[in-house]
């Protein structure tokens, strides 16, 4: 069973993603506190990490950078799910090591397809 860590400070986003992925048989670990993200990921060793960018304590892009800098975690694919829709933002996100960049508002179905594809591609 695949394992996905989702980090977003908006509870309804977490709820929505959790519901969608669980129904597809994916084990979802949802986190609202970005400061705990790295330790959870280390512990859980997920197949995929879905990150919001704009979070109060540690931003999603920083978590992504830290993951990619960690030898043990750098292979873990990251999907950035953010409201920042500028091309420059997207480029920055991909440069930081994100496998996919999804802008809000998003379709839970499309997200699931992407998650399935990324996990399947590993």
């Amino acid at each position: 069973m695949s394992k996905v860590v989702v980090i977003d400070d908006e509870p309804f986003i977490l709820m929505m993603i959790e519901d969608k992925l669980k129904r597809a048989g994916i084990h979802v670990i949802a986190l609202r506190e970005s400061r705990d993200a790295l330790s959870v990921i280390r512990r859980e060793r997920p197949d995929l990490v879905i990150l919001d960018w704009m979070m109060p304590e540690v931003s999603g892009i920083d978590i992504c950078r830290m993951l990619k800098a960690d030898d043990a975690l750098k292979e873990t694919p990251v999907v950035l799910l953010t409201a920042k829709g500028q091309d420059a933002d997207k480029q920055l996100g991909l440069q930081c090591g994100a496998s996919m960049y999804i802008t809000k508002p998003f379709s839970p179905r499309a997200l699931l397809e992407i998650v399935t594809k990324v996990i399947g591609g590993r």
Partner: protein
């Protein structure tokens, strides 16, 4: 030695004598005593001795004498030899040599004698040789003396001639012969030697020093030094000769003067020549000094006076003067006294008439001549010198003396020369005066013309309107020519002459029928000929003066530029007037200036009209505009530029744009003329545009759209550049807002939309049900509301900014607002352990304002404090009054704001440093500021990064009155 020999001889003689005396006695005694040895026969012996002794003694004596003689002779031999030698020398036989007979002192004396004799012989020979030489030199000296042509005398201390050379003898001989000839007797040999020197040299019976002359012989004897003198002596024929005398001492071995050698050289000819030279020199000096006087001054009176004075002094005359010829009246005029003489009959006139020098040495003796000076003058001699010029005799110079005076040939020559010189000088002076007068006339005329032209030019240059310029020009020309009437006629489009301007004392007398300005008028002629035309004179056929029939004379000058004739101007005179060449020339210049002025004035008027239009446009356009010259100095600047730049026009004009205008471009300050400056590009001929940031003197930041273009004149020469700029700050702000709206607001809208779209999609796909479905629907609703709230915020702000906002004034219930705040943020406060403290002062309770808007304000501020802080943060909301101000303060111990973000906080959509990790629209503080402004107040932010932030809102306190509350 000699003494020893003498002693020895005496001793020898004594010994012989003793032996000769004693020996017979001894022999006798011995013999007698031997015969009778027993008996003594002593008496016999004694007797015998006595008998024999006498005989023996005699013999002994004889023997001793002989011996003595012999010895004496030997001793005397050298003495005799010396005697012989001395005798020989006495007799002059110096060639004597004595033989030394002994080696004693006498022998030495003989040797010395011999040496002496040799030495004497040598000296004698030397003396003889010297004597011979002296004799020879004496002969040579005599030869020399005789060969010298000058007289040479050797004089002894008694002033008598000791020796003399041949010349002296010859002269004495000649003199004697002459004297003898006169007397008729024959002369013998002349006596020179032994005569007194003055007899020989001076031919005088008494010494020269007695007649006061310096006697060279006496001087030399007295001083022992060479003496030189010049004496005058009488010649053979009684003529005066000049002798140069050189007297030298002849000294003996003690240095005493024993003789004087006197040389007399005849320098009569030389002296005569020198005197002649001196005379010539004097003459030349006089002439030179007079020439100097003549050439020194151009003042006739002073020159004549000086010449007369000089001549009077030089020739030792008593008076003098000059008569000048007055040709018109046939008289002579004294230039000093002004006295007049009829020409003819008197000496000055004769000098003038004949052109030769006239002198009278002694008036009384030579007979009365026609003297112009009258009998009272007591004149005894005079001279009159003609003053010869190149073109005739100008007068005569006279000199007078009260004594008879003989004028020497030299003086006459000099006077004639002076006369010639003075004549020419006088002529030159007159010529100079004439030229000077002419020059002065020309100069004053030139100055007058120059002044007129200058004044004309300057007035024309300063006059803006044509009419004014022409009137000024006409009046100046009329003044300059003293014309009675001046008119200017212009050629109109129909080729007719139209009166443009006139200047006359009698304006009414000007009649101007066009028919009179026909082709035969003066004006038409002037225009056709393209040069000034004068009446009367030209054209001969011209029957009348065009305008004024009563005028006696007139001149008309055409006004034309190149081939184009603009008109003509005329001057009319009521009296006959002569026009000289320079008058015509002046008129031509004047007409040229007038032509240029008329053309320029027309052009100026046209230009003025154009310029005024350009000026209006320049000042009216809303864009800022200024021009610079090639050095970047601002030459003109319009009002809009002043407004935009915030710098007064006066401060901009004439200054370098780089000094007064600084454009702040992205990346740092840059002067207008620095690298990339659009104006510097324009000054190198390139047109360019760009946007630049500008900070005006008050610190206001503006965005300007700048366009620069080079200014190129009609000749294609770059004369500067023009910069046009527009304030695009507002447009830029709108642009920025658009961009920020897209990036920030759209981003903030995306999150609630995610809920609405995503959850709705899951509903449609029936993936949620039951409680979950309800939770989903609530979320969709909340997020929809959040979206709506954001839209409301935007609209509110838009309304406030556009002035459409409704200010709902009423009592503001701050306690209710504070309660609402606590409720709103209760969850997050609890979650983040935030300490929220609210303080509300009594005085704030009666504040009037828009309750809802102030609530929104405080919610925004507290919301910011909550969002931009960590756990355990402290937030204090303090509402109080300070004087007439209501103060609302929200302070927190949150993250704080970087200093550079603080000024930008109230800009719409600005998010700042913390915007990266927090959500928000960037509208909150902007809206707060607008709400504060709506209440007539202001919002200020103080913050330190890492420490916290205090946001203060100061509002003017508007109290609730009872009436309002009741109403």
């Amino acid at each position: 030695m000699f003494r020893n020999r003498l002693i020895y001889s005496l001793f020898l003689t004594l010994l012989v004598f003793a032996l000769a005396s004693i020996l017979p006695i001894v022999i006798t005694v011995h013999k007698d005593l031997g015969v009778s040895p027993e008996g003594s026969n002593l008496p016999v012996v004694r007797e015998r001795i006595m008998n024999d002794f006498i005989t023996i003694s005699f013999y002994v004596f004889v023997l001793a004498f002989i011996l003595s003689m012999f010895l004496a002779r030997r001793l005397l031999l050298p003495v005799r030899e010396l005697h012989r030698g001395a005798m020989s020398i006495r007799d002059g036989k110096l060639d004597v040599t004595l033989s030394p007979s002994s080696r004693d002192e006498l022998g030495e004396v003989i040797e010395v004698f011999n040496e002496m004799a040799v030495s004497l012989r040598g000296k004698t020979e030397e003396l003889e040789r010297k004597n011979k030489e002296i004799m020879e030199s004496r002969d040579f000296l005599e030869i020399i003396m005789d060969s010298i042509e000058d007289e040479i005398l050797i004089i002894g201390s008694d002033y008598r001639v000791v020796r003399a050379n041949k010349v002296v003898f010859e002269k004495a001989q000649m003199q004697m012969e002459t004297a003898a000839g006169r007397r008729g007797s024959s002369g013998g040999a002349p006596s020179v030697i032994g005569e007194y020197c003055h007899m020989i040299s001076h031919k005088m019976s008494r010494p020269c020093f007695l007649s006061g002359e310096e006697c060279p012989v006496k001087e030399v004897f007295a001083t022992g030094k060479t003496f030189r003198a010049i004496h005058q002596h009488a010649g053979i024929d009684g003529e005066q000769l000049v002798h140069e005398i050189l007297a030298c001492p002849i000294k003996d071995t003690n240095g005493d003067v024993v003789n004087v050698i006197e040389l007399l050289r005849d320098v009569t000819e030389m002296k005569r020549y020198e005197a002649a030279l001196l005379q010539k020199n004097r003459e030349l000096t006089s002439i030179n000094s007079i020439a100097a006087i003549l050439s020194h001054s151009l003042d006739t009176g002073a020159t004549i006076l000086n010449v007369v004075k000089k001549l009077t002094a030089m020739l030792d005359m008593d008076d003098g003067g000059i008569f000048l010829v007055d040709k018109d009246r046939k008289e002579l005029v004294c230039s000093l006294t002004g006295r007049r003489l009829p020409l003819g009959g008197n000496i000055p006139s004769r000098a003038v008439e004949t052109g030769t020098l006239h002198t009278i040495d002694n008036i009384g003796v030579e007979g009365e001549m026609a003297l112009p000076w009258g009998p009272g003058a007591d004149i005894r001699s005079c001279c009159c010198v003609p003053l010869k010029g190149r073109e005739g005799i100008l007068g005569s110079l006279y000199l007078l003396s009260c004594r008879p005076r003989v004028f020497s040939a030299e003086e006459k020559r000099m006077l004639t020369s002076v006369g010639d010189m003075a004549g020419i000088a006088l002529e030159n002076t007159r010529l100079y005066d004439m030229i000077n007068a002419l020059y002065e006339y020309q100069r004053s005329r030139r100055r007058q013309e120059h002044d007129s032209l200058l004044s004309l030019s300057s007035r024309l240059a300063s006059a803006a309107d044509i009419k004014g310029a022409i009137n000024i020009a006409l009046s100046l020309i009329a003044d300059s020519f003293k014309a009675d009437v001046a008119v200017l006629l212009e050629l109109d489009g129909n080729n007719r002459l139209v009166l443009r301007s006139s200047l006359s004392e009698h304006e009414d007398s000007l009649c101007l029928p066009n028919s009179q300005l026909g082709p035969d008028s003066l004006e038409w002629h002037a225009m056709e000929k393209k040069r000034p035309v004068v009446f009367p004179g030209f054209p001969p056929a011209c029957p009348r003066i065009s305008l004024l029939t009563m005028s006696e004379s007139a001149v008309s000058a055409p006004i034309h530029t190149g081939e184009k004739t603009l008109g003509v101007f005329s001057l009319y005179f009521n009296s006959p007037r002569e026009f000289r060449e320079e008058d015509i020339h002046f008129l031509e210049i004047t007409s040229s200036i007038l032509a240029v002025a008329i053309e320029r004035s027309e052009f100026y008027e046209k230009m003025l009209a154009e310029k005024s239009l350009a000026g209006i446009v320049f000042e009216s356009i809303s864009d800022g505009l200024y021009t610079v010259d090639t050095d970047g100095v601002i030459t003109s600047v319009n009002r809009a530029a002043e407004m935009i730049l915030g710098i007064p026009q006066a401060d901009l004009s004439g200054r370098k744009c780089s000094e007064v205008i600084m454009h702040k471009e992205t990346g740092g300050d840059r002067s207008l003329c620095g690298t990339g400056c659009p104006l510097s590009g324009a000054l190198s001929g390139v047109t360019s545009s760009r946007e630049v940031d500008y900070i005006d003197p008050s610190g206001k930041r503006l965005s300007l759209s700048v366009s620069c273009a080079p200014l190129i004149n009609a000749d294609g020469v770059l004369i500067g550049a023009v910069e046009v700029f527009r304030d695009i700050t507002k447009e830029k702000e709108i642009d920025r807002m658009k961009t920020e709206f897209v990036t920030t607001v759209s981003h903030e809208f995306r999150t609630p939309l995610s809920a609405i779209i995503g959850m709705t999609e899951m509903f449609i796909e029936k993936e949620v049900d039951g409680d979950r479905a309800r939770e989903y629907i609530e979320t969709i609703l909340n997020e929809g509301k959040r979206l709506s709230g954001m839209v409301s915020d935007l609209l509110d702000m838009s309304r406030i900014e556009s002035g459409e906002a409704v200010f709902r004034e009423g009592k503001v219930d701050f306690s209710e607002i504070l309660d609402d705040i606590k409720k709103t943020f209760s969850d997050i406060i609890e979650k983040k352990d935030i300490q929220l403290e609210t303080r509300l002062a009594e005085e704030a309770m009666d504040f009037r304002g828009d309750h809802e808007k102030l609530k929104q304000l405080l919610l925004n501020l507290v919301g910011n404090s909550v969002n931009y802080s960590d756990r355990n943060c402290m937030i204090v909301v303090d509402i109080r009054t300070e004087g007439q101000t209501l103060k609302m303060e929200v302070a927190d111990t949150g993250w704080g704001i970087p200093g550079e973000d603080i000024p930008l906080l109230t800009r719409k959509f600005f998010r700042g440093k913390h915007g990266l990790k927090t959500k928000g629209t960037g509208l909150g503080l902007s809206l707060c500021k607008d709400i504060a402004a709506l209440h007539g107040g202001a919002l200020s932010v103080k913050s330190r990064l890492g420490r916290g932030t205090v946001v203060s809102v100061d509002l003017p306190h508007r109290r609730t009155t009872n009436i309002e509350e009741n109403g």
